[in-house]
């Protein structure tokens, strides 16, 4: 592949929530900024910009990762999922979103997209987590409002619900 020069914009294309998207970017552009400013997908939030807070977490090829520690050019050809892809086309919330709603697991909502993306992967890899495991998995996301108890409750409720009616929630 040729060297992409710093003062030019280069084509990137990838799949965002199942749909093909593309754009022209400088090599240094962060994926988080590409999503928000170029594609208008502002569901992904940006807090610390150095990997600590987890607000920008998206799924790249299914794995939860920091969009602030990823360059837009790096996801060329990949598949990216963000909070915008969670609800059904008719607006019906996903089971995890619904549980957040019911358990009051968000207040300002700044941390929520990153937590939803993280917990979605977590529940796929660990469908029957303990309270302690949920707390450990949440350690990579900072929430300054809720005190986490409601988030833990929402994740545990979703896990239970998906175990009992697995087809309903699988995306």
């Amino acid at each position: 592949m040729p060297v992409l020069s710093k003062d030019k914009r280069h084509a990137v294309q990838f799949t965002l929530n199942g749909e093909a998207v593309d754009g022209f970017v400088e090599p240094r552009l962060l994926l988080a900024d590409f999503l928000r400013h170029h594609l208008g997908a502002t569901g992904t939030h940006v807090g610390c910009e150095h990997g600590i807070c987890g607000a920008c977490t998206v799924r790249i090829d299914g794995k939860a990762q920091r969009a602030c520690l990823t360059l837009a050019v790096q996801v060329d050809g990949r598949s990216v999922d963000t909070v915008e892809g969670m609800a059904a086309p008719d607006g019906a919330l996903s089971p995890l979103q619904q549980a957040f709603h019911e358990n009051f697991a968000l207040q300002c909502g700044f941390c929520t997209p990153g937590i939803l993306m993280s917990m979605e992967e977590f529940l796929e890899t660990n469908p029957d987590p303990s309270d302690a495991e949920v707390r450990e998995a949440l350690s990579g996301n900072i929430c300054r409002c809720t005190g986490y108890a409601e988030i833990v409750a929402a994740v545990l409720q979703t896990a239970k619900q998906l175990r009992e009616a697995p087809t309903q929630g699988s995306e």
């Binding site: 592949m1 060297v3 992409l4 710093k6 240094r28 939860a64 050019v73 790096q74 890899t125 990579g140």
Partner: protein, 276 residues
């Protein structure tokens, strides 16, 4: 908090990456997972002229066991290893340390070799490599060389990796019979940088203890045939020799106390594991 501008090369082959490193040397930075490098780029602590991305160099995406060595290719992620249940039987110390590294979202991307090259004093993988006596394989266009962990970690955030070299693999000694391993660390929050990290290996009456987070590089000490009272003295001496300093997270005195107390604990745990 946006990176300064840089050129970008996504290498498709190892040759392409090595060619670029030989051409750009000091002006270039290798990126694999980027979980240490990207924050430094964002804060503009580093401003390379060009970023050489090896994350799609598939020949570096492998692990293999060979002559009592477990070799991990240059782009294997921490998360990939953590999920492989087999690691516990192959390099138990590393398997115990992996869950402490950052968070699962950063492990999904962070690589073993990247962590070694970043060489943070409190980082878990360099500590495991040093404690077990592993090696790093460095490759440039001209040659390939294998460096012992002790010689690789030169100083805080400084390694023996030369400007034209790429760390293509890390090699860990596999677990020995009748040997116990233990890992523990103290951090403010799960996944934060360790204030002190400790790794212990117990074989026969020999004990090896590695400590990270206190000195500039992981430091390892080995003792044989110590009585419990001797061990206490030895740990105290080790704690002082590490020469930690006060910082925002803890005082040097606190770190010494942790080395003494948690040191005794991990040694006990490794010794118990050996007996089984």
């Amino acid at each position: 908090m946006k990176p300064a501008a840089f050129d970008y090369l996504r290498a498709e082959t190892l040759d392409e990456a090595l060619e670029a490193m030989s051409e750009f040397g000091d002006d270039a930075k290798v990126i694999a997972g980027g979980q240490s490098l990207m924050p430094m780029l964002n804060i503009r602590l580093v401003k390379p002229a060009i970023l050489v991305d090896i994350s799609r160099v598939v020949v570096l995406d492998y692990t293999k066991t060979n002559h009592k060595r477990f070799e991990i290719g240059g782009i294997v992620t921490q998360g990939h290893l953590a999920k492989s249940g087999a690691l516990q039987g192959i390099v138990p110390l590393l398997a115990k340390a992996l869950p402490h590294i950052g968070h699962f979202q950063t492990r999904n991307r962070g690589t073993v070799c990247g962590s070694l090259c970043h060489s943070d004093p409190s980082s878990e993988i360099p500590l495991c490599l040093a404690t077990l006596g592993g090696t790093v394989v460095l490759k440039s266009k001209r040659r390939e060389r294998t460096v012992d962990a002790q010689d690789f970690q030169i100083d805080m955030l400084t390694t023996d990796c030369r400007p034209d070299e790429i760390a293509v693999a890390a090699s860990f000694p596999t677990s020995d019979d009748n040997t116990g391993y233990a890992f523990s660390e103290l951090a403010r929050r799960h996944g934060d940088f360790a204030i002190v990290a400790l790794a212990a290996v117990a074989t026969g009456d020999t004990i090896r203890l590695g400590v990270g987070g206190v000195a500039a590089t992981p430091t390892v000490r080995e003792w044989s045939g110590l009585s419990p009272a001797d061990l206490e003295d030895a740990l105290n001496e080790f704690a002082w020799d590490l020469g930690g300093s006060d910082d925002i997270h803890a005082t040097a005195r606190y770190r010494r106390e942790i080395v003494r107390r948690m040191g005794a604990k991990v040694i006990q745990e490794a010794s118990d594991a050996r007996a089984q």
